[in-house]
């Protein structure tokens, strides 16, 4: 009994002493103020991150503000940010994120209308991050998904020609499938699922047009409508059934297989030019008849809870401006959204992409624009379609269930 009382007293005394010592030390020992440093979160790692770092480096030199870059995928940020924002905290001063996510979370995001002039950017780009007339995000550079990439040397070696009609395209696939060492004519990338959705969107855009494409985004067109069904039934599904598309595999691994000649074609965005050993050996063609392409700008925003709003605005202004974007496009694989970037800044291989886009319409990525549960369902159902092309109608019905 007495021992318990003594123990209790001892614990209380030790606790009070610890608290006093802790508070005293904290009050007396003032740590030296850390130098101001902005933190940027973006989705790029590896080679893509390497090409982004010079842009941040140029900002640091010009403005004398240190910048730290951290890699987080947008999918991961979507789980982290809500809790952080709820607690009034921000994991970074500038964060790259999906446009739809920025639009849906404006209560936590700084209005940057004072530093972003929509007239400086490609038409309609800034609209994607504008809510009630206020701009909440800034466009960085973007990537185009122009079509099927091939190795010029491979086409020359096997006397293959870029197709100009659908018939020529299917004949090309048939010819490729007879070449020794070819596993499947077209490489199917996988990851979370976006490579399959990219190629599917290209089919929809080419054979359905921009109105149908926009209709699917805004929900005015159903995935089970006759127009969409026709694209799947007559164009995509027959190719899948004939085995022209490979089994999906990690998109970076299959890129190596494609480069080594196990596949002849690979549908990928313009960033591929920064991922191969010899970009000058790259050629690209779109599905015959394509008049529109998906263009995906990267967007950034400043959380309301940043401790350095003015410096963060400086950085956003630099990154979205002509100077920052020029440094980025020089690295290859990126297309500027800022209209003041000179064409001469692009490497040769990106000029081919720009050439392909001449006179074409640029639209936003379908699943990135809708986002949410639709996006994951779309990706997941396309993986199912690749395994079971016969069940394409069930797949479309499932996608429609989650469509806007």
């Amino acid at each position: 009994m007495a021992a318990a009382r003594e123990a209790k007293t001892l614990i209380i005394v030790v606790g009070i002493v610890c608290l006093l010592v802790g508070f005293g030390a904290g009050w007396m020992v003032k740590p030296a103020p850390a130098p101001m440093k902005l933190v940027v979160i973006g989705p790029w790692s590896g080679a893509e991150m390497e090409s982004f770092m010079p842009v941040l480096g140029a900002f640091a030199v010009e403005k004398g503000i240190m910048v730290e870059y951290r890699t987080y995928r947008a999918e991961d940020l979507a789980t982290i940010l809500p809790a952080q924002f709820k607690a009034g905290k921000a994991p970074a001063d500038v964060i790259f994120m999906w446009a739809w996510w920025i639009r849906n979370n404006t209560e936590h995001i700084l209005d940057i209308s004072d530093i972003i002039d929509p007239a400086d950017f490609m038409p309609g780009i800034v609209d994607q991050v504008t809510v009630d007339g206020k701009v909440y995000g800034a466009p960085y550079t973007g990537k185009v998904k122009p079509g099927f990439w091939y190795r010029i040397s491979f086409f020359e070696e096997h006397n293959l020609k870029v197709p100009t009609t659908w018939e020529e395209f299917t004949t090309l696939l048939e010819n490729i499938s007879t070449i020794d060492g070819i596993v499947a004519p077209i490489a199917s990338g996988d990851g979370v699922g976006w490579p399959l959705s990219d190629v599917t969107e290209h089919f929809i855009l080419t054979f359905g047009g921009t109105d149908l494409f926009e209709g699917l985004i805004n929900g005015s067109v159903s995935w089970t409508s006759d127009e969409v069904k026709a694209i799947f039934k007559d164009k995509l599904v027959p190719l899948l059934k004939k085995g022209y598309f490979s089994e999906p595999d990690d998109w970076t691994l299959i890129l190596e297989n494609w480069w080594e000649g196990k596949h002849a074609l690979y549908f990928m965005g313009s960033w591929i030019t920064g991922m191969v050993d010899d970009p000058t050996d790259l050629g690209v063609f779109s599905l015959p008849g394509a008049k529109a392409f998906v263009f995906c700008p990267d967007f950034m925003f400043i959380p309301k809870y940043t401790k350095h709003p003015d410096e963060a605005k400086e950085l956003v202004k630099f990154l979205s401006g002509a100077e920052g974007q020029t440094i980025q496009v020089r690295q290859g694989g990126h297309i500027a959204t800022n209209l003041n970037v000179e064409l001469s800044a692009y490497p040769e291989v990106d000029k081919k992409v720009a050439q392909l886009l001449q006179g074409a319409t640029a639209v936003t990525d379908l699943d990135d624009t809708i986002g949410g549960e639709f996006q994951t369902t779309f990706w997941d159902q396309l993986k199912y379609l690749w395994a079971h092309p016969d069940e394409w109608e069930t797949v479309l019905a499932k996608i429609e269930e989650k469509a806007p």
């Binding site: 089994e247 949410g372 159902q381 993986k383």
Partner: protein, 295 residues
């Protein structure tokens, strides 16, 4: 007297406060959230009805005669139906054959490797082990002539994705049951076997009448812990297949994650969290009752 009563409370208080703040409050909050619409209106059991009627939970159109997706709840049940007996049997098998064997600790360490390995790595390994080009499982299947299974990457096909994740789960979890059974086997007094040998009992009879009955408490622990693990399974499946293709390997925990952090429908996620908690409570209550009964 009053001093005697307050002293235990004083020592209990920190733990109780922590449990209330970090366990009880979130559970109550989650339960309350499950009765609200996404807009915050009270909707009673409507969310539960909606979730339980959903094909994402039980897809009676396809189960059991067509290939998955069969619904997340069914997939969890399939996990239990396949994974539980395999891990219990294999754990027991390894524990028995490695008992009293020189150098057994090395083999046990290798088997236990799966247990100490992060689940995320296990998920990645599933992708590679069942790959049609480089997967060791596919190589073995090809060698024994099962080309229909060998020539596909298991994680990319709805017919095989669920089973690929379950089999990798077996590899990862067998170490746990082996260690529990090894400890239980070591605790059986040698005299029992010596007495049985004097009576002329065969090895099989000794196993049936001595080993198995005395392993019952260990089996109970293995079964309950394994069922809990199977119900909560997330990492392996998320990394290996993401619950696909076409939801063919979807499990309740991933569905809950998607509802919460992809669809941002926290009400439906709370319903799934509550259902998952109730399901995991069943084996927990069972083991608690059994333990009390044994006392």
């Amino acid at each position: 007297m009053s001093q005697k009563n307050t002293t235990p409370l004083f020592f209990l208080a920190p733990a109780v406060i922590l449990i209330i703040v970090f366990v009880i409050y979130p559970i109550v909050q989650t339960l309350w959230l499950s009765f609200l619409s996404p807009k915050g209106e009270f909707v009673g059991l409507r969310n539960y009805a909606q979730i339980l009627r959903s094909k994402e939970i039980i897809n009676s159109d396809r189960f059991p005669f067509e290939c998955p997706p069969w619904g997340a709840l069914i997939h969890n049940a399939v996990w239990i139906a396949i994974h539980l007996p395999l891990t219990v049997f294999l754990g027991l098998f390894f524990a028995i054959i490695l008992k009293d064997v020189k150098g057994a600790s090395i083999i046990k360490s290798i088997v236990f490797l799966g247990m100490v390995m992060p689940m995320v790595v296990g998920g990645l390994m599933a992708k590679f082990l069942f790959d049609k080009d480089i997967g060791i499982v596919n190589v073995v299947l090809r060698f024994i002539g099962l080309h229909s299974l060998a020539d596909i990457s298991w994680t990319y096909h709805p017919e095989t994705a669920l089973f690929a994740t379950i089999l990798i789960g077996v590899w990862m979890w067998t170490g746990f049951s082996m260690i529990v059974y090894s400890a239980a086997l070591a605790a059986i007094p040698r005299e029992y076997y010596e007495a049985a040998e004097i009576d002329g009992a065969s090895s099989f009879r000794k196993f049936i009448h001595i080993t198995l009955p005395l392993l019952k408490p260990a089996t109970l622990v293995v079964v309950v812990m394994t069922v809990l693990w199977e119900l909560k399974i997330f990492d392996i499946v998320y990394v290996a297949t993401g619950g696909g293709p076409g939801e063919a390997s979807m499990v309740l925990a991933i569905l809950m994650y998607i509802k919460a952090f992809v669809a941002f429908n926290f009400s439906e996620a709370a319903v799934l969290a509550t259902l998952l908690t109730l399901l995991t409570l069943l084996p927990a209550i069972w083991i608690a009752k059994t333990a009390v009964g044994r006392k």
